[in-house]
């Protein structure tokens, strides 16, 4: 997917542009092959496993397809959100491990705005947008903290985002959810109160749970793409992406306000990742439970990387992972542990990392000369 959009903007530039699309596909294919071998080794049947996996993945029509399809898109929308959270920061040369934190911050914000008095009971067309805005603000601010510390204090974002993840977790689950925001426990079910009807994401494919979250995230993704490749703001962020990590100062010298952009980039990253948490609360759980157990944040990194940090790529990768996870629970019926799909996810990312090798193979196929491969890389490498 790499550079696809660059090409849309700049016209076909790289000689072997189609490679950028082909490589991830081959990576995924290889991952499934290796995955099959792995199952075989551990004494199970790859055929059965994949049958179940894909049968229930929602990717292909089949029994109960509708509900699987719905479940797939439900997860995908969350993976895309956290994936973008990572990709956006990466575009600006920032290494954001904070999607996990942004996710739960988004969750709690959504829950609060969803049940708290002044808001709850507003008409849906006001309440829902209001929640979305609030969620993005909350997640954005949480992200901006890391951005601020990076910009003003030069503190490495890796540290701050990791620490902020844990701080968010504990402040939310060991304070807010069991304190100020705790529900009246007469049902014995703790966590925050449930959100009002007006806060729930409208369903779009009854009787399934599928709701507008996927539409929202697709829209957001488009906006992000537009931001990056069509606006001066995105242009500035990309100049940082190529220089920040290597201590180059060209953008700053050119009068680009790098500090502010850094903070803004982290804000946007946080805001988008937070949407994922909101989707979980507004569309699936309807409350913030005592223990949230996201995990979406870290998978988001994988999603972003499989998608080569490009908006379109993130969408496709998000759908892939969403499908794998949806099919995941059903493979248990063949007595294959539910985590099997994340093995495939791992292999996929692995082969993506090995794309130089894959490119080299492809090149060899087209014209078995190593030199040309290297020059192609020298010329086209990021």
């Amino acid at each position: 997917m790499k550079d696809v959009l660059k090409r849309i903007v700049f016209g076909k530039r790289e000689k072997y542009w189609w490679m950028n699309a082909l490589v991830p596909l081959i990576s995924i294919l290889l991952a499934f092959i290796v995955g099959a071998i792995f199952i075989k080794i551990t004494g199970r049947s790859p055929v059965v496993a994949y049958k179940l996996l894909f049968g229930a993945s929602g990717l292909f029509p089949g029994p109960y397809w509708k509900s699987h399809f719905a479940e797939m898109l439900l997860s995908s929308s969350m993976y895309i959100a956290t994936g973008l959270g990572f990709a956006i920061a990466a575009k600006g040369g920032l290494f954001n491990i904070g999607a996990e934190g942004h996710f739960i911050v988004g969750g709690i914000a959504a829950a609060y705005l969803g049940y708290a008095k002044p808001f709850a009971g507003l008409p849906k067309f006001i309440h829902l947008p209001l929640i979305i805005v609030g969620v993005m603000l909350a997640g954005g601010i949480w992200g901006a903290i890391a951005g601020y510390l990076k910009a003003k204090r030069g503190i490495h974002e890796v540290i701050t985002t990791i620490m902020l993840n844990w701080i968010a977790l504990y402040l939310i689950e060991a304070w807010l959810v069991i304190g100020p925001m705790e529900a009246a426990v007469e049902t014995g079910i703790s966590g925050t109160p449930y959100i009002s009807l007006s806060a729930k994401l409208p369903k779009i494919l009854p009787p399934t749970r599928l709701n507008i979250s996927i539409i929202i995230i697709l829209a957001v993704t488009f906006l992000i793409w537009y931001l990056f490749y069509k606006t001066t703001f995105g242009y500035e962020i990309r100049t940082m992406g190529h220089t920040l990590m290597f201590g180059m100062e060209a953008p700053k010298a050119a009068g680009i306000n790098v500090e502010r952009r850094t903070i803004q980039t982290m804000f946007i990253a946080g805001a988008v990742a937070a949407l994922g948490g909101a989707f979980m609360v507004l569309g699936v759980l309807f409350q913030y439970p005592p223990i949230f157990e996201g995990g979406y944040g870290f998978d988001g990194i994988a999603v972003a990387l499989i998608g080569q940090n490009e908006p379109l790529g993130v969408i496709l990768a998000g759908i892939l992972i969403g499908a794998l996870r949806t099919g995941a629970t059903t493979v248990q019926l063949a007595h294959i542990p539910k985590t099997f799909p994340s093995i495939i996810e791992g292999f996929t990312v692995g082969f993506i990392a090995l794309q130089m090798l894959i490119r080299y193979w492809i090149m060899k196929l087209i014209q078995g000369r190593k030199k040309s491969v290297q020059t192609e890389m020298g010329g086209g490498a990021k």
Binding site: F38, T42, G43, F95, I97, L149, R153, G154, I155, H156, V158, I159, T160, I162, M163, L164, W166, I167, L169, Y170, L171, I172, E173, A174, W175, I178, G179, M245, F246, G247, F298, D299, I301, A302, L305, P337, T339, F340, P341, S342, I343, I344, E345, G346, F347, V349, G350, I352, A353, L354, Q355, M356, L357, Y360, K371, Q374, T375, M377, G378, A381
Partner: protein, 317 residues
């Protein structure tokens, strides 16, 4: 007063016990990143090693065999990471994430296949057993030093490694070359330093260190593998390495602050009275993390890594 000495020592001992796994991971990071290869797979490597250590100890009934298995998987993963990032100049972040994700899936899968459970392994021979600890009776009762009276061999190893690694990096030819490769591989190459060899070495030895981190957890602190045991420790190690400005002693310092706060936090919770009782649990639990950021803002400040850390090294064509 004297009555507090045992408690003080015990607390320090706990802090050290808590430190060891993270410290190993951080040192692993120091090793490979000084050679210019980012390793965010510390987390996954710990998890792999924690499991294989237990597995080895389980089948052999001998903790040392477990140790070997753990080191073995460390080498394998290191080789994988090096093959991707050094041989094929692949993106180091992507490669690292790949290993982390695989660790999540594969280990659960193996745990299930080997021990028929997705939760825990049975207990195995380990280094934390009172018998196998290093006993320095003469230290007992001395304030602070007393904490070192009964530590596992792995904790000692971690502490000694800090010194060793410092020596290697800053006082040996190898160290000079490692750092040169991390700073400017092209310069190093024009002087005939074999950049690739150095990177391979640093990455593999780095991940072996990370592997020890996993072992310190499953065969040091505990005696079994728990599916979620290494959760986040590798990343804390990563953070500590950066906090410590990519130096062994720096990392140690960072982790001691963190582990200290962790122990303190638990203690304060337990003995909270009066006003302290009103402080929500969340603030106690997040104290170590807030403290870390605080320390960075207040004291440590800006950290700059090796100049070409994370930059894939490709020969010009």
């Amino acid at each position: 007063m004297n009555s507090n000495i045992p408690f003080l020592n015990a607390s320090i001992a706990q802090a050290l016990d808590y430190t060891a796994p993270i410290l190993f991971a951080a040192l692993g990071g120091v090793m490979s990143e000084n050679a210019g290869v980012v390793n965010i797979a510390l987390e996954g490597m710990m998890r792999f090693a924690a499991f294989f250590g237990v597995w080895g100890s389980f089948v052999s009934g001998n903790a040392w065999v477990g140790l070997l298995w753990g080191v073995g998987i460390g080498i394998v993963l290191g080789a994988l990471h090096a093959y991707i990032t050094v041989k094929w100049a692949g993106d180091q972040i992507i490669s690292g994430v790949a290993i982390n994700v695989m660790a999540m899936g594969m280990i659960t899968y193996l745990l299930e296949s080997v021990f028929k459970t997705t939760g825990y392994s049975p207990p195995v021979a380990y280094f934390g057993a009172p018998a196998s600890k290093i006993h320095l009776a003469f230290l007992k009762g001395i304030p602070i030093l007393g904490a070192f009276a009964e530590l596992t061999i792995l904790i000692w190893f971690a502490l000694i490694l800090v010194v060793v690694l410092h020596f290697v990096l800053y006082h040996t030819v190898l160290g000079l070359r490692i750092r040169a490769v991390g700073e400017n591989p092209h310069a190093a190459e024009t002087l005939g330093v074999n950049v690739f060899k150095i990177k391979w070495f640093a990455v593999i030895s780095g991940s072996v260190l990370a592997a020890f981190g996993g072992l310190a957890l499953s065969l040091g602190t505990l005696s079994s593998f728990t599916n979620s045991m290494a959760m986040g420790k590798g990343f804390i190690g990563l953070a500590a390495m950066i906090f410590g400005k990519w130096t062994p002693f720096g990392a140690l310092g960072a982790i001691l602050i963190f582990a200290g706060a962790q122990v303190l936090q638990l203690f304060m919770q337990g003995t909270a009275t009066g006003f302290a009782k009103l402080i929500p649990l969340g603030f106690y639990l997040s104290l170590p993390y807030m403290l870390t950021i605080g320390a960075l803002i207040g004291v440590v400040g800006k950290a700059v890594g090796p100049a070409s850390d994370g930059v894939p090294y490709k020969k010009e064509s």
